[in-house]
Amino acid sequence: MKVSSCCWRLTSLAFTLLFLLISNISFAQEAGDSEIPSDESVISSGETLFNNNCRVCHAVHEQVVGPALNEVYVRRPLPWLQEFIKNSQKVIQGGDEYAVNLYNQFNKTEMPSFDFSNEEVLSILAYVKSETEKGPAVAQTTDAAGGEGVAAQPGSTVDSGFVTAILIALLVVLVLILVVLGILISVVTKYIKQKSELNETDQEIVDQKFSLIKLAKSPGFIWIVTFVFTAIVLKTVIDGLLTVGVQAGYAPTQPIAFSHKLHAGDFEIDCNYCHTGVRISKNANIPSPNICMNCHSGINKVTGATESSKEIQKIYDAIENNEPIRWVRVHNLPDLAYFNHSQHVKVGGIECQTCHGPVETMEVVQQSTSLTMGWCIDCHRKTEINSQGNEYYDKLVELHSETSKDPMVVEDIGGLECAKCHY
């Protein structure tokens, strides 16, 4: 009796300590104060703004066309940032030393002016800050560049480093408890042995020898081992099954080694130019060779090359032989799911990269997202409706704002309903 109550006290003490530790950590988190808000909704609206306006030239952790933006709010004061984002040329012409240096450093590339309000600038900075704090994304094939918006865990402001620290601390505490308990038991046993007025059964308990074989044979132990084993097997099987048919990373060899990096990246040809259906139709359309010929009727070799390209020759051959090009489909949705590009691109204002990843950097196109239903649903839960200036949504926005302060996301207007995609 005594033993157990003693143990309980110790354990609760340990937990109290642990709790204090965690609370301290979270306090520490919020203490890094500035004028930049850390509100979830602000960050998410900042993310949308960032993706729609800044992403073309800026990344948070790496230099693209413009400088990397991590800790930009530390480097420059807020008013300067606001002014520069709204009209960078004005700041540069005003002779601001930092601005002029920056301008020269980046080959005098002008940053266009943006008609943002101060709040909007703040929200972008909030997003940049939250990204900065997350640290550079681990190089993963699936979620690399396009996926940030989607793959981010909602509500998890605690860094994964802290979680590990907490876990280690917890482990240490548990081991300590175990040691203390061990010591306590041996002390108590000794104490009891000294008093020899025990009856037989008590004697037996006290004399018990710790035996590994006995422990291994005990039903409790067998049960635990079986349970753990089954759990691991099940988890592996389920994980395995969940990846059946998921083709993330699928990058088949195409009949023509067409480089999106060259066309969309280096030459900055707009996606719509070739994928003509993307704003009007369900299908984005793989361009027919007559679209290729708009440019390639005059271009038959790669820049710098002296001989005409074999790959480009394939387009000519296709037209000459009246034989269509048989591309390998990279993004495959099952027939039971209905997906419409124009709904997402034209109405929703979603960037191509959100689902297709940084195609403009791909030599060979690969499927960069999982394209599973969970992935779709996740996005529908988070993506705000592009309702600005669309009369269709006016009444819905009004109704939504009556009941909620959060932005209206796809889920709020039935975006998770079965018959939106399955019929």
């Binding site: 395995g240 990846t243 059946v244 048919g245 083709q247 699928y250 088949p252 003509t276 259906g277 009007i280 139709s281 369900k282 299908n283 359309n285 793989i286 361009p287 027919s288 060779p289 007559n290 679209i291 296709a318 037209i319 009246n322 034989e323 269509p324 090009i325 048989r326 591309w327 390998v328 489909r329 495959n332 099952p334 027939d335 039971l336 209905y338 419409n340 124009s342 709904q343 034209k346 109405v347 200036g389 669309n390 009369e391 269709y392 009444k395 819905l396 109704l399 207007i413 039935g414 309903e417 079965c418 018959a419 939106k420 399955h422 019929y423």
Partner: protein
Amino acid sequence: MEKNKKLYWKGIEQLNKEPEFEKFLNKEFPEYLPINGGKEENSGSSRRDFLKLMGFSVAAASLAACEAPVRKAIPYLNKPVEVNPGIPNYYASTYVNGGDYCSVVVKTREGRPIKVDGNKLSKVSGGGTLPQVQASVLSLYDQERLPAPSIGGEKSTWEEIDNQIKTKLASISAKGGKIAIVSKTILSPTTLKVIEEFKENYPETDLVIYDPISSSGMLKANQLTFGQRLLPNYSFDKADVIVSFSADFLGTWINPVKFSSDFTKTRKLDDKKKTMSRLYAFESNLSLTGANADYRVAVRASKEGLLVSNLYNELLKKAGLTTIRTSSVEELPAIQKAANDLWKAKGKSLVVSGSNDENVQLIVNKINDLLGNYGKTLDITAPAKFRQGNEGEMDSFISQLSAGRVNGVIFLGCNPVYDHPKGAEIKAGLEKAELSVSTSDRKDETAALTGYIAPDHHYLESWNDAEPVAGSYSLTQPVISPLFNTRQAGESLLKWTGNDQTYYDYLMAIWRSGLYANQSDVLDFQTFWDKTLHDGVYTPPMGESTDETDVTSESTVDIQTAINNISKNYKAENSENELVLYEKIAVGDGTHANNPWLQEMPDPISKACWDNYLTVSQSWAEANGVKMVEAKSKLGVLTIDGQEIKVPILVQPGQAEGTFGLAVGYGRTSAGKVGNGIGINAYPFIQKNNNYYSLARFEGIQVVATDEIYEIAQTQTHHTFMGRAVIQEANLSEYQKDPAAGRESIHIATSEALARELGLEKGEVPPGALTLWKGHEYPNHHWAMAIDLNSCTGCGSCTIACQAENNVPVVGKQEVINRREMHWIRIDRYYSSDAPKDDRLGLEVPSSNPEVTFMPMLCQQCNNAPCETVCPVAATTHSTEGLNQMTYNRCIGTRYCANNCPYKVRRFNWFKYHDNKQFDTNLPMNNDLGKMVLNPDVTVRSRGVMEKCTFCVQRIQAGKLEAKKEGRRPTDDDINTACASACPTGGIVFGDLKDPNSEVAKLLKFKEEEKFQKVEEPRAYNVLEEINVKPNIWYFTKIRNKDEKLA
């Protein structure tokens, strides 16, 4: 409010409470029905089987996981500007099958036509469609079509066949031999021009036109009366009183699609218009027209002439003119009543007869003249050309052919060996012709006997024009390039004439020199042509129409001779059996027999499909011991002219005593896999009566029932409503007094205290007042439907339109017998009986001439849906737009939902109907060609999955997207279901209740106040309101226009 005392029943077995019927009455899925096609007796599977299956599926799953199939994406080589994958294109065109006409709009996806709908711009077909038109798109993808021209049954080339035919024609022409071009009615003026040109080249050529269901006698009568061998243009919308003598103008007679829409215009009721027309029908078989009539009199066909002359006599009396001598009939009171009504509605009435007897039609013309209907409800200044067949010419052709005096014969897309009463003679005679050519699209009964087959395009691959009514033109344009090596029949004729122009150029040239030259509105031909092509129809500017001549006055008709002939040929009393042939609305004259959609469409009246059968009256059935239980009937032996034919018997309430009905269009032997060997061919039974081919035979008929059991694929008793009243109806006089007449206000039993709590009297508590349901909020859209039982004629266009739109499989005869038909929308046909509900004895005697109500039944999209609550995997859920969603990929096939559905509208995929040889009649899903008709926006469901009407959610989504893209709210024009857009009468109205401007909201007078929704239209009701499932479909009470006393 007075309670509707009528009892409704769906089949005689239900009315008679047959024990075998009652046993399975409550079962949605009776266990006794076989799963393995009835072949395997012991269908239980063993543990071993289970393990084998398990092992296999695990292996299959792991194999599947290893390598995902490589799918190709093949873009156009040179993308046409107007074709965008994923976006449908619509083209106006014209459906023509002989004299059947419909101006249509064809929906194509990626260059494939997938759906046909009515063209709203057409004044001749009125924007609706009938089942055959809806199904015509499937005929395009028929594998049985000839892939190339053939000579003597061997595949050949066009050069070869042209050379041989031209040589033969020349040699026949050189020796002055006779050539005949045989065709059904030709509506195309350009084709007629081509034939003219052909005739110029080969002067000994005759054009012989026949109609499988001949109207020759009617045309002759009109010629005698008006001097023109044409049909008047009927305006049913202007008629207050209509009397039809076996003219099924709502189903198969002349131009039913337009007649249905016009007729229904006079039947619609609202606050402003509280009057409607009255329809009398005198007929032997229960037809669609009879089923929609206010007064239907079942009469023997042998009386028809006398009925007409009696009506004429009665009207003469009223006009104060000298009456004629005619024998009286026992139906005189009904005739007098009709005469009274007609006389009151002079100039606003219409008398029509389906008879092919010149004498009868002469009197009908006289009657309409007497009533002053010409120039009002009948127009002869712009006559219709739907029927042009000339029996005299056809008969003389056949006798010349038999005599070997016809050297060359060209069958222009017709099949007289099958569908002409003298088909056998033609068959024998064909051997004597030197040259025989058919332009049929398949090796049909006639083409199989001809030396050459020059297969014609399907109409969706053709260029053509049509002039169905004088002064109303329309164009047929191809919507797909020819699937096979076929050639337009007109072009073939041109080739054989020696004119190498394409038919397209020829057509354009005719239009340029004709219609274009005669107008001055458009100054360049291309614009004129493009506009006409876009609209599909063209009406020349007014002014050139012929002067309105009062042809009737100058007619030199000898009416007394006609009356005498009638008295001679018709009988007031006939003790012999009579056979009355008829056309079914789906299969029609049999041209489309290989179309499984049409074969599987239940006949609106008999609810039977995949067969023709002898319809017998109930009294005959009783006397001969024939009982129909669960679609099991007896085989009968029909004896005609000593010939004995076995034919199934179907007991048909409303069948006139002593008459038997039999549909033509069946018994094809060379239609194709689907149509061959179904039923018997009734065309040879047509014989001359009064010098014209008559559908009725008054004598020499014997019918004997055998003991052999025969199962008719009948959908009638499959979906019972457990005797609950679902039809609410009233008489017009009651409606005029109280618009809510006929409505049954259903109340639930409560305690007095509870009722008081609700602020109501005890016994006045409506079903919705107490509910366990929380209800749904619809912030965005609220889709709903209003179905007017007064507008529904039961034609079944909606069923086929839905089948085409939603990839609904065809299951075949045996599966229909097993109650597994898949149609998402069915037309329930209820007969009623005048006996009160508690009068069991009275119910023992079924009504011999019951009233009929049609009720389209589809998923009611319940707000408190019983199916949703029982699905264990949430595969059927409710949307925020009021839809009851069905997610196929989630469904595991427990069938709980179907069991719990009070409307029995859920359909279970008992089998894999696609890519399955067992279901090879399911053409749209079992071969690559047929699959081209599938709607790419709708999933093809697999085995073990439940399915049902979705309110065409793919169309809703597409319409919403279109509106979103343009930044506006969708309107009625953006979204409509397939059934509603196919309905020729506008009986189905679909829309968004949240949109106060939508037609459905206006019709229902929908009010929405703070979570409180109310339908204020007094006629609107929900079916099975008492179970409080709150459907999103409202029905409008059926109103009949009967006299007050009789109601």
